[in-house]
Subunit: 422 residues, 2 copies
């Protein structure tokens, strides 16, 4: 029977199938590369393999403050029979390359990082020498190469230094600088527009314009940013089909991925699916997944761009975000697998049993001696404080019983979580 | 004997004692609070405990799309003997607060998030009702409170929502927004100025001005930023005492913490300790620690501000950074313990034996089934590629033998590392 108070009752899709369907539908949408200055490259994804174009160091240099000598002349040297060298010069790190030659019976002072003069085969630490007027005395046999960093010790021309997909860390940025680069090609961040529904948010905002009414959008924007997206809070969708449609149309034009929060369920003012269908083909692909919470999550595709439809309850919204939006961001960044989502293995603190649906279980992970313990966090799926008490989640298949102590794979919400696990 | 080619040979301090000495010397230097808009609060450290000033929700609301009814009227309801209700109104989330009253025999349509009308004690899912002309039929007994999120379910006035020292995550920012805040008091980031020595960097820069010559400073700046500091690359110190002194003096004026790279050893152009001593009391406090690599690390205090003196070899520099600069940043942010440094427990992949000094051992951690494995990364302490191959480190006391499989505490370099552990 057709009822005006029920919009539809879609079949709930297996969430993992739905996720695969989404990723497959937009698998060609990897972001292009863009060039950024090294100072701004931290956390960005390298677009191409980086090979060394230089030798580092590009000459033999001293590792220590000392004297460069020819080791042949230290043969059989001892405290009672030292090898003596006349000091004929000084070299500093800025003196590269050098034409100075060490002749028989001569030594050159070399400050740490200085080039090795011609004719020298090792450097001897200052503290290991005796000073005798203008000569130094070496009191043991020195092996060839002692105290020297040979040409190419750090890297050689043609070495693969960093592979594409590398999320650039401080040391990676440093190594690119040492190749002589001042900029690097990284994957452009996918622009993700976040739209919130509906009229109650507008009412809140008009009551106090300084207040951030759509706080769930702020949470989603923060999570998306941490995963490498360029997240934009694109405003509030009023409770009217044509206005929702216009907002989504604008967001599709301005960005690579659209995420809506709320308005996806079966209420009479849940206009998002209709709007997505109105905007282009194929429209809504999945509406409703067999996941608890998060069941009314879904997605559509409009002219090749994805619209992720998240539920309005924050717990459900987060579940839908990690099911659809997080892997989408990784795929757009060209990163395989779970992308930038930190994960770890933990022991479950309490028994857990699922019903006919997949479970998105919030957990709070802490460290015990030699292991992580994941405690289930319970609370209404509309309570933001429940998310605040959590630092990650696990996904448990339907009809599964996990005993306390079972090993589970925990996905941490973001980069900021691990540093606070105590 | 006084030798012109040896500046001094300081006694090496136990690194943990040296670290404590530094932290104690500047324990009063916690940064003041500053107010930032919520949009910019991600990753910042909360300056004060945050208490709720509101009830969320501040009225009973429906969790589902359905009908609000008085449950007393559903007593003994069944498919054969349904309880019938006349639909007298509709409520949506924006309709708060409501004066609508449900009288006997009446039901009100409530969209998910709408307020509960007076007289109703539960909501029934649309799908669980039958529509019969202008009436709905309820076919089972409904319990009081079903489908309702009661006032204060998420949080109540006066609840502690977030404690100070919390590094704000997306969900924390969201919960602050739901308190009606648009800004929050966070701990100001300590400004950390990074100075590099010496002339060879100036020579490199003048050869190619677009090149970033002082790449180690870039690494240190990135690591410091990840730990919550406001890091500035403050330039290159030429190889002359008065110029080094002037650079450090300027950096001390402009920032909260000064970090120098290079020029701390016993070479004839190692001017940093002399400069620090020249600038104010007490000057150099520790020069040289019993740590390998990193032995020539040290610090001074000038008029209450710390100058961390890092070695010029990158491996030693990183060791000194984590020994002195990282805990300093945490202390300035008012965070106890290891601060923002992510850590985990891992099994050592190979035997490890230390000599008379503490060992700063670079490791590469990866995940095996149910555990992390930490493999030692070897390589010259002057090779940046060694750091690139690593994602963390362990500290091993002197004269210690750790068998393969021993459990070790790994400090990851930064927030970006865990997401890349595979």
């Amino acid at each position: 029977m057709d009822r005006p108070d029920i919009k539809r009752m879609p079949k709930r899709t297996n969430p993992l199938d739905a996720q695969k369907q989404l990723l497959d539908a937009v698998h060609q949408n990897v972001m292009p590369a863009e060039t950024v200055a090294l100072q701004y490259a931290l956390g960005r994804v390298l677009a191409k393999d980086a090979f060394s174009t230089v030798n580092i160091p590009d000459y033999d240099k001293t590792f220590i403050d000392g004297y460069a000598v020819n080791t042949a002349e230290t043969k059989d040297a001892s405290t009672s029979k030292p090898a003596a060298f006349k000091i004929t010069g000084k070299l500093f790190p800025a003196d590269y390359p050098t034409a100075i030659q060490v002749e028989k019976g001569e030594a050159v002072y070399v400050a740490c990082g200085a080039p090795i003069p011609r004719g020298a085969t090792a450097t001897v630490k200052v503290e290991e020498t005796r000073l005798n007027n203008d000569k130094i005395e070496v009191i043991r046999e020195i092996s060839s190469g002692e105290g020297i960093i040979p040409l190419g010790d750090d890297m050689r021309k043609g070495d693969l230094i960093l592979g594409k997909e590398q999320v650039l860390r401080p040391q990676d940025v440093g190594v690119l600088a040492s190749l002589g680069l001042s900029a690097v090609e990284v994957v452009r961040k996918p622009r993700i527009a976040i739209l919130s529904g509906g009229d109650e948010l507008i009412k809140q905002s008009s009551k106090n314009p300084t207040r951030i009414a759509n706080n769930y959008a702020l949470v989603v924007a923060g999570l998306a940013s941490e995963l490498g997206a360029d997240a934009e809070m694109a405003g509030i969708m009023p409770d009217a089909l044509e206005k929702v449609t216009a907002k989504i149309a604008k967001a599709l034009t301005d960005s690579d991925i659209v995420v809506t929060i709320g308005g996806t369920s079966m209420g009479v003012k849940d206009f998002v699916p209709d709007a997505v269908n109105a905007l282009g083909k194929p429209g809504v692909a999945v509406q409703g997944v067999s996941l608890r919470p998060g069941a009314v999550s879904g997605f559509g595709i409009v002219n090749g761009k994805p619209v992720v439809m998240l539920p309005g309850h924050i717990g459900s919204c987060i579940a839908g975000f990690y099911l659809f939006a997080a892997p989408l961001i990784s795929q757009y960044l060209g990163i395989d697998g779970d992308g930038m989502l930190p994960k770890l293995s933990a022991e479950l603190a309490e028994d857990l049993e699922t019903g006919p649906q997949f479970r998105f279980q919030l957990v709070h992970v802490r460290r015990l001696v030699g292991k992580f313990l994941a405690k289930q966090v319970e609370g209404g799926s509309s309570a933001l404080t429940t998310i605040v008490k959590s630092n990650g989640y696990i996904i448990v298949p339907p009809h599964t019983t996990l005993a306390k102590g079972s090993r589970v794979e925990v996905y941490l919400f973001g980069k900021l979580e691990l540093s606070q696990i105590v």
